[in-house]
Every structure is written in structure tokens, then in C-alpha cells.
């Protein structure tokens, strides 16, 4: 039954990553984008990653903003560093899940997919890219 699974939780708590080269390339690209977006203010995703915490206020709490930036970067860098591992521990798996989720949401948002209508009318290649990330995320989420 576990033959076709891409992520398998082992008895020792580690998660086995069974992605093929194409799958590894997709996560590699996704993780790389999030690392770049946090570092580069000109990156297409950067502004949305720094969205307001309290939209009714002119200024967010700088400590909360710094915490967010630091935690997104830490997770993205950990995911990026472990992208070729065959087994990842729970902390690394959480970094993979959160970084892939950010990449999924930002891929959709940067292509204007902000509601179901836009999703239904998106081009096939983009939908396929998003569906692949969704499939990875769904399976990885099953390991928690």
C-alpha cells in the first residue's frame, strides 16, 4: 500500500522521502524561491510575505514582523539544506511543509489565482505545477 507514497512515516518518527528526481527538482525550486523571496525585497513574493498582521493599524509590531521574517527564513533554509535527504526528522518535515505551503500559496497569488473562478480558468501548465505541490503537501501532512 505504501509503494506509491512519496512520504512515509517510519516507526522511529523519521519521514522517508521517496521523491524521484523530477519531484526533488520541484521542491528544490519551491524552497529556493522562498529563501530568495525573504532575502530579496525586489522578489515578486516578498511583499506578500510581509503582509500586515493587523490591517487596521498603520504599523505592525516590529518584533512580531522580525519574528515572522526570521522563522520563515529559518524554515526555508532548513528545507533547502535537507532537500536531498532520504530521511527527514519531524522538525525538518515541518520546515518542508510550511515552506512548500508558502511556495504553493505564492505561486497561486503571483499568477492571480485568488479565488475559485481564477483557479478554474488558469492555464493547464500552471494548474499542473500547483496540483503537484498540493499532492506533495497532502501526503506530507498525512505524516503529522
Amino acid at each position: 500500500m505504501s509503494k506509491n507514497k512519496m512520504f512515509i512515516k517510519r516507526r522511529d518518527g523519521r519521514i522517508e522521502v521517496r521523491l524521484n528526481d523530477a519531484g526533488r527538482n520541484i521542491v528544490y525550486e519551491a524552497f529556493g524561491h522562498v529563501v530568495a523571496a525573504e532575502r530579496d525585497p525586489e522578489h515578486d513574493w516578498h511583499r506578500r510575505l510581509n503582509a500586515p498582521i493587523d490591517p487596521s493599524s498603520d504599523d505592525d509590531n516590529p518584533l512580531a514582523m522580525l519574528t515572522r521574517q526570521s522563522q520563515i527564513s529559518t524554515n526555508a533554509e532548513l528545507a533547502y539544506m535537507t532537500r536531498n535527504e532520504e530521511f527527514i526528522n519531524e522538525q525538518e518535515a515541518w520546515a518542508w511543509l510550511t515552506t512548500m505551503q508558502i511556495a504553493l500559496r505564492e505561486t497561486a497569488a503571483s499568477n492571480g489565482i485568488l479565488n475559485d473562478e481564477k483557479w478554474n480558468s488558469a492555464d493547464i501548465e500552471l494548474r499542473s505545477q500547483i496540483q503537484t505541490l498540493q499532492a506533495f503537501l497532502f501526503e506530507l501532512a498525512e505524516c503529522f
Binding site: 498582521i53 493587523d54 515572522r68 515541518w94 511543509l97 505551503q101 498525512e142 503529522f144
Partner: protein
Amino acid sequence: MASVKPQRVETTSSQVLTDDAVETVRPWNVLVWDDPVTPMKVVEVIFKRIFGYPNAKCTQLMLTVHNEGKAVVWSGQKDIAESYCVKLQVAGLQSTIEQP
């Protein structure tokens, strides 16, 4: 026999509390907003990990986000709400705080 007259105590100030005197702290809400691509299972896992809610509550909150476009996932002090909001954003969900 001496008579004892009751003494009248004059009061000048009212003891009634005004609205200003009763300080109520309105809670802050942590909101999670729907998006068309995040898998439902992922939302549930994130709620469970961040808030430690039981599975049924995570599912119910996820369905509220999905069906109504948003859900209040936690209410309370501002600093804690802010901290939860940051955790949800770090996990890749669209989240904000508000004081209704």
C-alpha cells in the same frame, strides 16, 4: 435623660460607576482567510500543531474557513493573538488579527 439625635451624614459624591470607570478589555481575534489552493488536510494539521486543538475542532474550523471565507481561530490578549497570527503566517496560511 439625655436625648440622642440621629446624625445626618451629608454625601456630596455619587457612588455610581460611570462607563469610563468600568474598564472592559475587548479580546483580539485571530482570523484565517480562505485561499483556493491550500489543501484542507494541510490547514487541519497546521491548526493542530499551532493551537493543539482536538481533531474535530481543527476540522470544524477548517470547514468554516472554506465555506465562509474566514474563521476566528482564537480570541484573547493582543500579544498572544499577534504571536499566533505570526505562527500561522510562518506556516503559510493567510492570517490577520482584529479587535471587533
